[in-house]
């Protein structure tokens, strides 16, 4: 039983650690990518992977109690609002006419 709990703690640490790395990668991507549209995708790495792993790690670390429930609530909320605000940014940019950067191979534009 004790070993099992220790193992759970180790899993929690790994989750938190990799979640932190994902958040950094998301931020790095939003700094490195060449144009607005690709930066949107980098931000969604933070929004999905980073949030899931960090909250999961904290939830496992705290055991099962009211704290876990609050973490779950934060997670559900970020899951609903994160994509919605990304979509809102993308939609506003699209309406205002910011087009994706031209690639070497393909022309940007709508494709059926």
């Amino acid at each position: 039983m004790n070993i099992f709990l220790d193992l759970l703690q180790v899993i929690a640490w790994i989750c938190i650690f990799s979640g932190g790395i994902l958040v950094i990668i998301g931020a790095l991507g939003s700094l490195r990518f060449p144009d607005f549209w690709s930066r949107l995708h980098a931000a969604s790495v933070t929004d999905s992977g980073g949030v899931i792993l960090l909250l999961l790690g904290m939830g496992i670390h705290s055991g099962f109690n009211l704290i876990t429930f609050k973490l779950l609530l934060i997670g559900v909320f970020l899951f609903i609002t994160g994509p919605t605000s990304s979509h809102a940014v993308a939609n506003a940019a699209w309406v205002s006419g910011i087009k994706p950067l031209r690639n070497k191979h393909k022309k940007p534009g709508i494709d059926k």
Partner: protein
């Protein structure tokens, strides 16, 4: 009516789990406020055609769907991470149309949000029968993957009474 009672109980459970206080006065106040909130929403529902209190989702199917989505998120995260960390950043951006088959607004919202939540694809615009999706590293397989996601979201939808 049953739905309203369920909503009130759900709200009260949420309230209790957030506060964690079990004194009589606080509990009564919490129960009163959740009933009051449900009453207001019912009145608003009567005033407009849009029904806020009805959620047409099948719980078990939706639970399965969430696990499937988590796996998808892991996969697509990996793709985007590789692109971010690779020195020359192999980006193939493309806008393409994705048809959807959901009937209710909620189903469409779930599908669009899932597309946005998985890194690498973002819903840009909602049209009458399709979404406009922007992909970071476009390949022809993306259409099949998104069609699969569409099918799974449609399965979670319950009976829609429009």
């Amino acid at each position: 009516m049953l739905r309203s009672i369920f909503t009130a109980i759900f709200l009260f459970a949420l309230w209790y789990l957030m506060s964690g206080i079990d004194k009589t006065l606080t509990l009564v106040l919490g129960a009163g406020s959740s009933v009051f909130a449900v009453w207001i929403v019912r009145r608003m529902d009567e005033a407009s055609n849009f029904k806020c209190l009805s959620v047409h989702l099948r719980p078990i199917e939706f639970g399965k769907y969430i696990f499937w989505v988590l796996a998808e998120i892991a996969k697509s995260n990996w793709t985007v991470i590789k692109i971010v960390l690779s020195p020359n950043m192999d980006i193939k951006q493309k806008m393409y149309e994705v048809p959807f088959t959901q009937k209710s607004d909620l189903g469409q919202a779930v599908f669009a949000n899932t597309i946005t939540l998985t890194p690498g694809t973002i819903t840009v615009e909602v049209e009458a029968d399709h979404f406009l999706v922007h992909g970071l590293s476009y390949s022809f397989d993306d259409h099949a993957a998104l069609a699969e996601m569409d099918r799974r979201v449609s399965k979670t939808e319950g009976i829609v009474d429009l």
